[in-house]
Structures are given as C-alpha cells and as structure tokens.
C-alpha cells in the first residue's frame, strides 16, 4: 500500500513552490486552483513565471500581488466579461506613452494550441511539437520561439513550439486517493499534459477517496500517484472557478471582478481582505457565506455506471 501524500495547502506550497519557479496552475475555466494561488500569495513567493492558457482571474490576482515577473499564455481575458486589468496595467503604455509602472511584466505569447503543444512536448520529452498554426501572422515575429520548420518528409512546412516543463504544476480535481491517483470529470483542459510535463505536481481535491474507488473506474484516472507529490484536500478550492458536479462557476464574481480589477487601489484592498486577511480556503469559504455557497450548488446529473467485468 502506497504511503499517503496528503498534506496541508500551507505545507504543500511551502515545500514545493520556490521563488523563481515556473508555475502552472492549470484548468481551462474548470478546476482552477484559486486556493493554491492565494496560498502562494500569502507565503510571499517572488519572481515566478506563471504559465496558463488563459491567465483567468487567478493570475490577475497573483500578478497584482507581486509574485510574478513573467507570464506565458495564449489569451489574456476575463472569459465572457472583458480584460484582466492588473495585467494590462503592467504591460500597456500609459496615456502619455510612458512605460508601465515598474515592476512591469514580461510576456511570452502563443495561441491555445501552441500552449497545449508546449505542455505535450514537455510531457513526452520532445524537443519541440509541430502544429499547423501561425502561418502568415505576426505572432512568430512577436515571439521568436515560434519557429517555422520543414517536414522531414515531403514538402510540408509547419510551425514548431518548444517544450514547456513547469517546475511545479498545480491542478484541482474532484477526487484522489491518498496515494495521489487523481480522477476528474468535466472539462479536462490540458491538466494532464501540464502535470506530466512538470518536475513537481500538487493535486488539490474536493475529497480523498479510498484506493478501491479509483480502481473501480480506471478510465477516469487523469494522473497516477506516481507523478503527484502532494494531495491537498480543499473543498471549494476552485472558487470562483468550478468543479463539475460539485459547484457552479461563480459568474457573478467574474463579472464583479471587472470593476475591482480596473482600480488598482480597490484590487489591493480586495487582496488584503480575501487573501491576506484569511488564513486559508476554509476561512475564505466561511467568509463567502452559506447563502452564496448554496446558490452555487448544481442539480444532479449522474452518469450511470459501467461494468468493467471481473476476469479471473
């Protein structure tokens, strides 16, 4: 029986996330570990390179909190609402054309498929990944790491992107065993690729389940405990993002963020209250309040079950 990897969020972040690391908190709209992002802020990490396809609010918050020196991404928006203003303020010229208030933020930009391909190359130990994108665009000029290359067979030309190997990838999931076998359902994003590509992996889950639950449905396993360094049990750890079947996306929060993010002083006040002012996700959830929590619970849509068959 494998030893337990269950750890507190505080211990997992303290032990596995270091200054200067390349950190990927992955989950495409779904299963984004805001709880881990907030703990990284509380522990005062610095000079991180943050990687995600869409930074989402979590990196807008972390950039505003001063943990990051660089962003690797493919879409810089608040999905369905608008922009990520803390990030924009650090990269846009001001009204007089002056550069942003230091410290600015370095950007390394791709497309969605480019980012997915980067993690895939990282996970598969490849020197690059080829894709049919970027032709006739200004992206390769803006990012010289996106390079055209000929196919070794025939006349085709493709574009290559380099591998992305995060120092630490943090994912959120519905459940895992104490040994770190992670299962998810809903949007899979590129969590798997980002985790296999990483040096260290933290899996934050709604609940820990017995190994027998995992073994009863092996098709549902995203990651084996083999690649997971810590399992953190943090119900509602993805809020305001969501967990399929557990809670809804807090769209009201995403909408409200636009006004908060546009005003630097207001954003800093929000961080003081909701990140620095709570000692962890449990306190954050309590502060959200039972009514808000209850409103985010979805109806039920069970999947039924399948029979793998017992073969002896």
């Amino acid at each position: 029986m494998s030893p337990s990897k269950v750890a507190s969020m505080r211990d997992a972040i303290a032990g596995l996330v270091r200054d200067g690391d390349t950190v990927a908190i992955e989950g495409f709209t779904h299963l984004i570990s805001f709880a881990a992002g907030h703990e990284i802020i509380r522990q005062g990490r610095r000079d991180l390179t943050l990687a995600r396809l869409t930074p989402d609010l979590v990196y807008d918050q972390m950039v505003a909190a001063g943990v990051a020196r660089k962003l690797v991404f493919s879409w810089l928006g608040n999905p369905g609402v608008g922009g990520l203003h803390a990030i924009r303020r650090r990269v846009e010229a001001d009204a007089t054309g002056r550069p942003p208030v230091p410290p600015g933020l370095e950007l390394e930009e791709y497309s969605h498929f480019g980012m997915v391909a980067r993690y895939t190359a990282g996970a598969a130990n490849l020197p690059f990944f080829p894709l049919r994108s970027y032709f006739e665009t200004d992206l390769p000029a803006a990012n010289p790491l996106i390079r055209q290359m000929p196919s070794p067979y025939g006349e085709d030309v493709v574009y290559a992107v380099p591998p992305l190997r995060p120092d630490v990838t943090i994912i959120h999931a519905q459940r895992a065993s104490a040994a770190g076998d992670v299962q998810v359902w809903g949007l899979l994003g590129c969590q798997k690729e980002a985790a296999f590509a990483a040096e260290r992996v933290i899996a934050v889950v709604e609940e820990v389940v017995d190994e027998s639950v995992i073994r009863a449905d092996p098709n549902r396993t995203l990651l084996p405990g083999l690649v997971v360094d810590a399992v953190v049990v943090e119900p509602w750890g993805a809020h305001p993002s969501y967990v399929q079947g557990h809670y809804d996306r807090d769209n009201a929060f995403y909408r409200a963020w636009d006004a908060i993010s546009r005003d630097e002083a207001r954003l800093q006040a929000w961080l003081r209250e909701w990140v620095h002012g709570v000692d962890g996700r449990a306190a954050y959830v309590e502060k959200l309040g039972a009514e808000r929590i209850a409103a985010l619970r979805p109806g039920s849509a069970p999947s039924g079950s399948v029979d793998y068959g017992a073969y002896r």
Binding site: S74, P79, G80, D138, N251
Partner: protein, 249 residues
C-alpha cells in the same frame, strides 16, 4: 439584429466551433432555429454540446452536461480542428481589414502597446484550419481599418490570389473568411478577396456603412436590406437565451 443575422448564416452547416462572446449566443440561437442538427464544438474540449443555459464563457459547466463528448484540449485542437472536421469557425475581432485579416492582440506597438487585447486564444489556428470562418463584430472606423496594427488571424492576406497560392503551398485546410456580420450589415468577400456589402440592416444607409469603414468600402448599386428579426428569433433571444441581457443591449 447582429446576432440574428449571424445565426441565419449557419443554416446548412454541420459542425461549428463556438467562440467566446457574441458567437456563443448566435450559435445557440442557430441550433434552435435554422440549424437544429448543428454540432457545437467548444475549444475547451466539447463536441456536440447542448447547453441548457446560455454559457457566459466558453468553458461553462453547462456545455459538458448532456454533450456527446468531453475531450482533452489536445484532442480537440489536433483531431477535430487541425484534422479538418470543423465546417465553420466563428471569430470576433477588435480590428479587421478589407481582406478579413484580424487583430485581437494589440493596438499600437507590440512591445509597448496602447491597448493590450486578449491575443489569439484559438483564433489563429481556427482561421487556418476551419473550412470557413465567420466573423461577428461591431463596426466603426476604429474596427474596420485600412491597416490592422497586428495580424493575429489570417484572412485573405493581401488579396484572393495571394491567399489562394499561400493556402495551397502551405497546405491549409481552411478556405478563409466567408462572411462578416456587424451591427450595421452583412458582408461577403468578392473574387478579389475584398469585403463587400451583402446587405445592410434595416435603417442603415450606405453612407453610414461607408462612414463606419476605414477604407473605400465596396458597395453594390442596389444594397439589399437584411431581413428584420422574426418574432420567434426575438422571443428565443429575449426569453430563453439571454433574459438578463448579458449579451444583448
């Protein structure tokens, strides 16, 4: 009107890649009206979505429940999009030029932009690999421009001849943009690869369309009027799809 016009363009299409924002509502309206067999594909990793509520984002939980397939993004981009299964890719744009090349990256200089826009997301690969591209966007002299500040998603490049040659030699599956729907009208592309008016919405004059365009807009002699929204289309939009007016004004 814009959403209704965009939805109508999807008649007869089979597999549509749904983009964030206005494409989301247009595609959902189309599925309930002119294209009931339309398969909705979301870049977040869903094929055959049947959202019970209008998704605010393209990664909303409602696109998963009841869908045909929830797959990894690698699978979605590699096998569905790059593999050639997408009939229509729906894109938004901050800036577009006469040949349908799109900017969603920066206004101003890339190194020190005046406005940092969201960037490509999936748009760049959608423009190249979807069999055809629909664009939905608001029209004005700052969005319909002579020259875009940054080319995020390629359209007809410098014209149809160049685009045709480039697509062939580089092996693109996509044939490029086929329609642009704005709040003023519906545009298609002429044999030279340039946008031309197909119809203007009720109440929009050719002069207004010209004034809202940063280049010398090609207008036919007689400009048809876009058919006004039908009652059923409006009912679906206002009562079922977007009762809170999140998308519609």
């Amino acid at each position: 009107m814009m959403v209704v016009a965009a939805a109508r363009e999807l008649a007869g299409k089979r597999v549509c890649f749904v983009g964030v924002g206005l494409p989301n509502i247009a595609v959902n309206l189309a599925q309930r009206t002119v294209a009931p067999d339309l398969e909705l594909v979301y870049e977040a990793g869903v094929f055959g979505a049947r959202p019970a509520r209008l998704p605010l984002s393209i990664g909303d939980p409602t696109i998963v429940t009841g869908a045909t397939a929830a797959v990894s993004m690698f699978e979605l981009f590699a096998f569905y999009l790059q593999g050639g299964l997408i009939d229509v890719g729906f894109l938004g744009a901050a800036q577009i030029d006469r040949y349908g090349n799109i900017n969603t990256t920066v206004i101003g200089d890339y190194a020190m932009p005046e406005v940092r826009l969201p960037g490509s997301g999936g748009a760049c690969e959608i423009a190249i690999n979807a069999r055809e591209v629909f664009v939905i966007m608001r029209q004005g002299p700052r969005s319909f421009v002579e020259r875009i500040d940054f080319r995020t998603s390629p359209g007809n490049l410098g014209g149809a001849a160049e685009a045709e040659r480039t697509r062939r030699t580089q092996g693109w599956l996509g044939r490029g943009p086929s329609v642009v729907v704005t709040d003023l009208g519906v545009y298609r592309f002429d044999p030279s690869g340039e946008m031309t008016v197909a119809s203007l919405h009720p109440g929009v004059t050719p002069e207004a369309a010209r004034a809202a365009t940063g280049w010398d807009l090609a207008l036919p002699d007689a400009t048809p009027s876009t058919a006004a929204p039908r009652e059923e289309e409006l009912r679906l939009l206002r009562q079922e799809l977007d009762p809170e007016g999140a998308y519609l004004r």
